[in-house]
Symmetry: D2
Subunit: 332 residues, 4 copies
């Protein structure tokens, strides 16, 4: 059902690292991510704000870049283990006729920009400046106390093809949704938890969401409550609820530019080579557990485009069981 995974990949991606988003109002976005989500500002100026989670030592996991319109994603980034993995990555992408270019990025050592076969702009680096972890600086905590970036979810025209590409880079699936022989989505990881990268079918490539972990279930309520009190009540798009795949409690919020961020509590540990991916049979793309209403249509259809990357239509028509469909069906 799932494509081949190369357990000895050509270079060693270790984890989801950071995401670069364009925002129309830097102060507003900063307020949202600090006071609702709970991120810490590592550095900022008039045009960019670097944020990290409470337990993160690396300089940034979220980079907000002021732009005229905002609402696009510039790049998602993964870490590699050694600096020399970057060279191997450069060679790999070039040999596969994919874009690969050395760039300089603030607060990072050598950095490589590459794209996957559908054009998703990726950034790879091996080291960053570090700052003290803030996870026991309780007196500074704000918002939902987000701990660390965990994963990205992409919409891609063909989930199987994307899964195969990332499988070639060593991404294994912890769980996946399938309808008969059709792969509806997969949760892939490099680090030892369920997820670094999820891919679901849809017009793409687009960034569906990025996710931060929180320590405890009450932090998920706090994200919603603080969003409500700070003027972002409508941003709570889905949840709080429970995922079936992965088993996490979650809430999805939309930031002031419409970027979707998930806060969720902790995953399980993966790592071991003999554990099999868990299959979820589904006729839809829902990831609810056994209770809770389906997501709104916009949760399925709206996502952040990547700056300047053309969109491709999904290979098969999407027909998710949205909340709207469910209620309309019940009406007729």
């Amino acid at each position: 059902m799932l494509p081949y995974v190369n357990l000895r990949p050509p270079f060693n991606i270790t984890r989801a690292s950071h995401v670069r988003l364009t925002v129309a109002d830097l102060a507003e976005s900063r307020n949202f991510y600090v006071n609702v989500i709970g991120l810490v500002v590592s550095d900022e100026d008039d045009s960019v704000c670097y944020l990290r989670g409470l337990q993160e030592a690396c300089h940034h996991s979220l980079v907000l870049e002021q732009a005229r319109e905002g609402g696009t994603c510039r790049r998602i980034s993964f870490r590699v283990f050694f600096d020399e993995d970057l060279d191997a990555a450069y060679d790999y992408f070039r040999e596969n006729d994919l874009p690969a270019e050395w760039v300089e990025m603030p607060y990072q050592e050598r950095t490589l920009h590459v794209s996957d076969p559908v054009g998703t702009p990726l950034e790879l680096c091996a080291t960053m400046e570090t700052l003290p972890r803030m996870h026991i600086r309780f007196e500074t905590f704000k918002g939902a106390h987000a701990q660390r970036i965990d994963h990205f979810q992409l919409l891609a025209p063909d989930a199987y093809e994307s899964c195969a590409f990332y499988g070639g880079l060593g991404f294994r699936s912890s769980e996946y949704l399938a309808d008969g022989d059709t792969l509806l989505g997969t949760f892939m990881y490099r680090k030892g938890t369920c997820l670094d990268l999820a891919v679901f079918p849809g017009e793409g490539p687009r960034l569906h969401h990025f996710a931060y972990t929180v320590s405890e279930s009450h932090n998920i309520f706090a994200a919603c409550d603080l969003a409500g009190n700070l003027g972002y009540g409508d941003s709570v798009e889905r949840g709080p609820g429970r995922h079936g795949p992965g088993g996490m409690l979650f809430a999805y919020l939309r930031d002031p530019d419409g970027h979707r961020v998930e806060v969720f509590n902790s995953h399980y540990q993966t790592i071991d080579v003999e554990t099999e991916p868990v299959r979820w049979d589904a006729e839809s793309l829902s990831t609810n557990a056994r209770w809770g209403l389906p997501a709104l249509e916009k949760w399925y259809l709206e996502a952040s485009a990547f700056d300047g990357v053309p969109l491709l239509a999904p290979g098969s028509p999407q027909n998710p069981m949205t909340l709207e469909r469910l209620l309309l069906a019940a009406r007729s």
Copy 2:
């Protein structure tokens, strides 16, 4: 805005006590209330099951009575402080041309059956048999660890009139919803928290829901998760979410007969005579806080009828902002 409250009422109702429900399948309902909600069985036989919350010493706060069809409420019950309060209550109801009758009920001392002006069947008693509180018998805990019954919510043809009647019995309002000069609903209490009895307009009298407290927010997720795993996933009708009025976290579940039970975390303390009811301006009956989707239409319209009590249409047409309306409006 709110009707007069008699702070020296003719008799002393102290708190919401218990509710008697008819159920079509006693074993199934028992399973739901024990393994999802977390109640403790005090006594049972083939036709009736008596349950109480973990911290309750009194014999029962929920009585499930086997009936051919189930789905109706037989009576909601309040406690009075002294046995002599029952005599005063008897006189009060008779003097006001309302039904009042002495009855014998198992596990209770002297018991009085009365009805409010719209026919809501009430039960009053002063003492019950007691059993050990189970709140620190952690090794016996099941379900969502429901602690104690807290309140009832009624639908009544005229919320103001019902509020006035119960105000005459000493029920004060902690918070209320109003649209201009129209009272949309009120949260009344006798014990020192926000609620013993809420009344909202609707075809009635009917029991909209009864509510149990839980200790911590994670217990609310547990109610949903256990409902999902034990085959009651569709019973999670609304939430988890946050109320504006009262400020509680909540989830509403429907039991196997469709009776609606709320689990919520703790209220604030009331008691003091000088604190004013909090007004919430609303065009609808929603009790969400500043985030979260509105409730489904059925949450507003469906409720448990009282056995043999005729229904009265509400004085003014109801037009709640249901989830269906919101989504259909957004469509057109």
Copy 3:
């Protein structure tokens, strides 16, 4: 075992209301109560700071009064229900040859100062100025999110005699510790939870501690963690732990003047007239549940004296099972 309780007391005390403490450094104490405990400042000037819990509408539950030395308690206060209860209280204390005096106190209506038979200075009032409850103003929360004052614990020369006096005022016991026929301590209440006033034997009268409720168990860890990070690490005197009587999770902290404050999560509901006090057989004064080390000796022996009130020795010698005794006994 327990003395008589007058269920129709001469006047209606409703709950623990507030405590007045002297402090040597007002700014330091304010910092502790706001940033560790989580209280809200209602009003303050150079000589006094009025604080309340997040869910409290009444103006103050803690009054910090600048004094040269600090470390004493000026008065503990209870609320009565009606203003006329104050008159009945005045008469009652005068008739019993106990001090009673009308005073004026800021932010309170008519106020009465009285003393119990061992000289504990009490303040009674019926109404206060009110302010908005802050319990759903999540964006303002600090410290351990203390919700409301709950109870006082006194040391008194003879716990039985004190219990009898307060029993005459309608205080019932929810639970008590006894060693054979000797009452070691009792948890008394007027409001519908376990506690408004605990009395234990010791040199007195002194205020052993006052207590604030918190919503969830993680708030108890937060109190300790914030104390540690804000320079009050040594103030965590006992806990986190679990009480047997009452069943609460707790931590005890000492404020900058040595006043002891407890944070604990919620009690159970009392109210009903037929429930019997729970007896705990103990050879000591420990209130631990079935796990956890005993308290340090100072927890038993140190307490805040009342300004200008002479101390009386306890009738029987105290020999609590302190942590020191336990460990030293194990040594020898």
Copy 4:
């Protein structure tokens, strides 16, 4: 300060895997680990019981082996990534004149028994039988809901030497305690969190404790409360408290044979090559955060010996700041 770490180790240890303990009463130990800690039984017979945490797919992380006396540890085990890593490990230990022997162990594929330079018996394997993860089977949860094994803590005669040996196998330190130039203890990891193996100086080699993660802070209270109610109240040896190094909330319990097990909530993520170990200056071995009493002397001195492995005295005398010393010092 810290010894060299080989980031390209001769074989790839991925994580702490399991521990084999001897117990005097298998039924009693099973009861403790299932009903207090919350482990799941994977298999059992009259002489052995295999347990795993709720989120573990691999067959066992704790193996209880019936023995006449109990109280010893037979082996701690690590996982390697590929089966071929076992061959590399065999060669490495043989080349370093350390014991290495192929064995067969139930439910595991090829298994290697080796010893570190001070004789700690280690077990290495690459694959196990798998079973379904139970982490969202909420209806089956018991005890403290332990999620997965996390780490071992060893006492070794020379912490620096042990740290150097494991550094050669790729174990990096997340945090460490030092007194001037003396390493007092170190927290080493292979998987991407703070810990797989901690080493502290003491008579050894002995197993000081093994640790399971729990999801939320309330689970730590649950471990203590259930221990208390199920007859293991005295087993709660230390905590609940907060570690400085690592920043976790914790409680330590002693099982019926005296083996020490820690439950704690989640660590932070490590992985990245550029992050530096965090140094904690300490004159003692305490790992408390900035609040809380020191551990009892027995917490420092008692540990599980390894079956048949001779003990070596520590190179430098140990003088931890125990609770006993603190109290005796305060006395004099």
